[in-house]
Amino acid sequence: MAFPQRQAAIVGVYTTRQGRKLSQSSFELEMEAIKGAIADAGLQMSDIDGVIPLNASPHVGRVSAHQFWAEQLGERPLTLLEIGLTSGALAKAAVAIAAGMASVVVLFWGKSGWELGPGGTPVPDRAPRADAWDFQIFGGGYAHMYALWAQRYMYEFGVTSEQLAQVAVTHRHHATLNPDSVMGDRGELTVDDVVGSRMVASPLHLLDCALDTDGGYAIVVASRAVAEGTRKKPVWVLGGAEAAYTDFYMTIDDPWFKEQGQAVRKTGDLAFAMAGVARDDIDTAGLYDCFTVTMLRDLEELGFCKLGEGADYFAEGHTRLGGRMPCNTDGGLLSNSHCGHPSGLHTIEVVRQLRGEAGERQVPDAKIGLSLAQGSSVHGQAGTLIMAVD
């Protein structure tokens, strides 16, 4: 059985303000985003019949977030209760919608009041307890785990810090063309700026790392029947998939970099096969760029270049505005925003490109786009979504 292409579309997207220490709560950001995305589509809140909440319930911890949102959105039965990593979850929602399980599904996230980075953990007055095999035990966090991964990657493939830095430089350039980005008004970066910024965890410098911001967003996906009556150009779902490979980085057997790839490769291969499009057909993409090295590995794992060739491929400029497949045109997680669970931002930027709403950073005549969500430390989890406009 084939993926139900063009039977569901992204019809509404919304991003709240992104930035350090916003005054709104996580819930307020979620609610603003849901209302905004529904308004963008020209739908009513009462049209929602499925939810993909990315946060836990803010209300009663032992109850699922879906139940909280069912009541919060108006005491009527919601019929699609999905979870997952944005791009993959949206693909599953499209399939469920095509099968008649729901017609208007909203995915949303909001985050405020906590930090992902090391500064978010205060010094306690006694030794806290942690899960025995967790990276907290040895002072690890997200940046540290990706640093371990980057160190081995650079060793095996002879990649330099300057080659990683070009990712931060390009994504900052894109951010300067995005008036809503957090870092755009700081102006362009140079490779020297990146390798000269303070070290966080070798080999990753401060400017190799994503931002650590607050913010929210929402994405509405709807049936063909609904989509044909909405306000904006429908962005049809052509295919998509999700995969989990590991729960901890350090359980991955050696070699860490395998020819056959891991979760990202799996979702990419599945999504391209379902969508019936080739890699060369992608006009624009949003790829998970939590660290500079992640972007290079995404390009390899998705099959846009070969293992170990990500830096050379990137240097050729294909992913820069003006190149053949501009990526992360909003500035990405490095220079637009990393609001805690930010992978939906990549999908939203691709939707805006395909609708022709990207202003100064518009990719001319963009028709087919791809978004990649990646997480759980180093390709342990992935979701790929392929979208198109008529």
Partner: protein, 146 residues
């Protein structure tokens, strides 16, 4: 005259029924990993069943503790009490045991952070935590380079 021991404020493991045998022998400075009683494979991080044949007949088995640096990072920004110890080293060491390599994460001690390199020969070391009935595992240089 008394000596003030600075309290250990970094996270310590929650001991449970599954991991207790590991931490009990760790106190005797023995590092053990779950070995499958059916297929003989070693596993780390410990999972409740063998990741090769899915048997739940696992035995905590002492290993040599010898290995080499598979990857490492020198950390300048650490969470909580780790922030007071920068720069510190996190090391992913590959134990010599096979068939499944065991990539073990730990802080590296007794080393100049700037001397650490991929491929360096290392061994498991032990740190008894003051005022806590627990021992932690670390990596340290093997010191037998010729």
């Amino acid at each position: 005259m008394s000596t003030v021991v600075k309290p250990y404020l970094k996270p310590l493991p929650k001991i449970d029924e599954f991991n207790k045998p590991f931490f009990d022998v760790l106190k005797q400075h023995v590092f053990s990993v779950p070995r499958c009683s059916d297929c003989g494979d070693y596993g780390w991080v410990p999972y409740p069943a063998c990741r090769s044949c899915h048997s739940t007949r696992l035995t905590w088995t002492p290993v040599s503790g010898k290995g080499e640096v598979y990857s490492y990072t020198v950390v300048y920004r650490g969470p909580g009490a780790f922030g007071e110890e920068v720069p510190y080293v996190i090391c992913m060491g590959r134990l010599d045991e096979r068939p499944r390599s065991c990539i073990v994460g730990a802080n590296m001690v007794d080393v100049d952070p700037f001397e650490v390199a991929i491929g360096m020969r290392i061994k498991i070391a032990f740190e008894d935590i003051p005022a806590e009935d627990i021992t932690m595992w670390r990596w340290a240089p093997r010191g037998d380079e010729v």
